[in-house]
Amino acid sequence: MADASIFPAAISGMFELLSPVPPGWGGNLLRGLANSLQIAFGAFGLGLLIGTLGAYGKLYGGPVIRDILAIYTTIVRAVPELVLILLLYYAGTDLINRVLEAMGYAPVNISGLVAGIVVLGFVQGAYGTEVLRGAIKAIPQGEIEAARAYGMSPGVMMRRIILPAMLPHALPGLANLWLIATKDTALLAVVGFSELTLETRQAAGATKAYFLFYMAAGVLYLLVTLSSNAIIGRVEIWARRGMPSIREA
């Protein structure tokens, strides 16, 4: 009798704690997740942009551009991300404010969201440069030569031939980068940005239900990964439309 009453009580307690409306902490977790996803999207997009330009620069740029890019990708990939985040976040905001001050403007408070996107995007860009450089190099040279032989300008060639032709080679690497982006948002907890991990820690600390909240956060991260995989799988099928599958060949 006593057993039977304890168990439902524990379960209903869990639901109360996870409820999306106060006094439950579920809403905080979901807000944290939304913030994490926003940063991940922004950082991944920025990384893709930097990566595309970086790959082009490394492959077709002059010696100065190539040297600069080599320094960028080497350093960013050598230094632990946590160190980079602390460095770029504090040094970056400090630098911007000093410049503003020197130019006679008042210092600004840089939003955690923007700073997070810029910092993680900068890191993603270094890995993206290498992923995309490899993918572009995997395009059969003859297809690029055909594009040149038919008078395509560099811009048309990039848009119509190089980007779609390299996509199937880039997708596995880009998928990894996206999943890393979703999890790297957790590192922004150290600079006080209220993403999923920080929200979880606060909820757990306030309620002492550590196991419950960290499990809940784990499930949320897992759901993000699972739905990402489903989408990436579809994109990959589309990108590989001209390629016979390995099994068929």
């Binding site: 003859g142 055909a146 038919y150 008078g151 048309v156 001209g242 390629m243």
Partner: protein, 274 residues
């Protein structure tokens, strides 16, 4: 091409009717070095509308390099190149080489030279029809419907109507090469450039591709054709050039070059490949 002589006015601006056909390609004293290695040592050629020029020669003699200089896939080291009556302006790079002064001029010239490669080089992420309409739409600015209508006609011509929506990876070599010829025709080329179009094909697929090329020659297409198929060159060419070590060793009408070759080397070459 049976052009009436003298005063008639042609409806086709690309093929003005004159007593003598206009020059489509004019190359004088072309040199090309790769570093220390001089691959072309002063090659000249004039191709008029309707000419079919066959380039023959041993491996490494510079045939591909010559063809690639004509659409500036390689920058010639020195020499004059005039395409469609347009002189290509070059700038010295200060290291003994040169490069085109105006990228757009090169792009414009290229967009009227239909190149067909040994390895087909179709774009793998596009279906056959997409390959054929790509350049007309995105380089020449032709309207999509129009490009598709022309593209379908061309696929029909090369016998690939049924493969319209198939990706290149699912086609045989012969089909891919016929598709590549349709892609070249779609730009309404002033000149077609063929670089050993049948060398990568299984023997039983060579015939279908040669037939398409022979038909094009018959209808008066201007073509430059690098080939190892001597019998074919003799049949379709109006002019044959034998290249050896970057020099034109012999040239002339096919019956002369193949029938009574002067140099010992050419005699030997003809024996070795036939």
């Amino acid at each position: 091409m049976t052009a009436p002589l003298a005063t008639a006015v042609s409806a086709d601006p690309l093929h003005p009717v004159t007593s003598e056909q206009a020059e489509a390609i004019h190359v004088r004293d072309l040199h090309k070095c790769f570093g220390e290695l001089e691959v072309l040592k002063g090659v000249s050629l004039t191709a008029r509308d309707g000419d079919v020029v066959a380039l023959i020669g041993g491996s490494g003699s510079g045939k591909s390099t010559f063809l690639r200089c004509i659409n500036f896939l390689e920058n010639p080291t020195s020499g004059v190149i005039r395409i469609n009556g347009e002189d290509v302006r070059m700038i010295s790079d200060g290291h003994g080489g040169q490069y085109p002064a105006d990228r757009r001029q090169i792009e414009r010239i290229r967009s009227r030279l239909g190149m067909v490669f040994q390895n087909f080089n179709l774009w793998q992420h596009m279906t056959l029809i997409q390959n054929v309409i790509e350049v007309p739409i995105h380089v020449l600015g032709v309207k999509r419907d129009e490009a598709i209508a022309i593209g379908e006609q061309l696929l029909e011509r090369v016998g690939l109507s049924e493969k319209r929506d198939v990706y290149p990876a699912y086609l045989s070599g012969g089909q891919q090469q016929r598709g590549a010829i349709a892609r070249a025709l779609a730009i309404q080329p002033r000149v077609m450039l063929f670089d050993e179009p049948t060398s990568a094909l299984d023997p039983e697929l060579v015939g279908e591709v040669l037939k398409v090329i022979a038909d094009l020659a018959k209808e008066g297409r201007t073509m430059l054709l690098v080939t190892h198929e001597m019998k074919f060159a003799r049949e379709v060419a109006s002019h044959v050039m034998y290249l050896h070590n970057g020099v034109v060793e012999e040239e002339g009408r096919p019956e002369t070059v193949f029938g009574s070759p002067k140099s010992e080397r050419l005699k030997q070459f003809i024996r070795s490949v036939s």
